[in-house]
Symmetry: C2
Subunit: 177 residues, 2 copies
DNA sequence: TTAAGTGCAAAGCCTTTGCTGGGAC
DNA sequence: GTCCCAGCAAAGGCTTTGCACTTAA
């Protein structure tokens, strides 16, 4: 059993409580990009003595420590992505909501160049691609879908609860390379 | 006096009420990316007999009609961008919150290629760059800033109020080219 | 020991919506 | 004349927070 996240927490000087250890474990075992509610669900499956407020406080703390990155796939809630998985972007399947990670050096070079052309040094960036799987059998695309795509993909770019600004800008997160 | 947006509304078969005309005018005159509250402020300056609920309903309608695009700069609220300004992305100055529009053919080609490499056809995308102005006098960057950057830039990728999914995914908006 | 974390419930913020009266076509 | 729209206020959904108790170091 690993628990990379707990290790990172300790390295960052985060006081490890029982609840945080569980959340760290859940995060370490996750291979997807869970939102708070999902993290909470997985956490209470291990130990019910944990509240969702603690999950919110913990992801926020880990985000501030640079252990987690907050992602916004336009669903109306945040998702979290451990930074130790490395720098990457996401492609969301608009029909299934499935998220695919990728990285691309050429893209990094291009955006860096764009920023410089505009007189800026790139601090960070957000890139999400939305795509549809290429299928052999050309889909009859005009026909209305009986089953609408998953919520994840259905919600478009969505606003965001204001909430008092609290920490630094995107600068820290994804982007540098 | 122009009012491009009102024209677009009529072309799209949107019933023009007094309130919508005012909002259309505000949008036509805007050169920035106002959020709902800002639109509301500008609208009531012209005619106070308008409620913020109407602004919300109107931007949503215009978004569905493809006249507006919803943007999320990670501030906790949505901003709106008339689509007739053409396809573009944004670079946000992390120190001032100022938003700069840009477009780049090379980038478009790169992301299209990325999607294809992953077995997808690109439906849309979201790209935001966060950068810091390049200054002649090399800034002493470790020194803490007396004045923190504007809220706009300070808030990182932020969650998003869930709200029942309502229309199609990002597909429609920015991205295609 | 003692500062920090946790639970619970209430509050906050942006956004949506039910309902009633009003207006566009 | 009808169906859609606007206002208002309440509700909704995610997230934060005040307070009293518990716990890590």
């Amino acid at each position: 059993m690993e628990n990379r996240i707990e290790r990172l927490c300790i390295e960052s000087g985060v006081k490890m409580t029982g609840q945080r250890r569980i959340i760290a474990r859940v995060l370490s075992e996750a291979t997807d990009h869970p939102n708070v509610e999902e993290l909470y669900r997985r956490a209470i499956a291990i130990d019910p003595r944990i509240s969702i407020a603690t999950v919110y406080r913990t992801v926020r703390l880990l985000e501030e420590k640079g252990i987690l990155e907050r992602r916004d796939f336009g669903e109306g809630r945040a998702r979290y992505d451990p930074t130790d998985r490395g720098h990457h972007h996401h492609l969301i399947d608009v029909d299934t909501g499935k998220v695919i990670e990728f990285e691309d050096e050429e893209h990094e070079a291009v955006v860096k160049r764009i920023a410089e052309r505009l007189g800026f040094t790139l601090v960070s960036q957000r890139l999400e691609l939305f795509g549809r799987r290429v299928k052999a059998e050309a889909a009859r695309e005009d026909q209305p879908r009986a089953e609408p795509p998953r919520a994840a993909a259905r919600r478009p770019a969505r606003p965001i609860p204001l909430a008092r600004a609290r920490r630094a800008p995107p600068p820290r997160g994804a982007g540098e390379r």
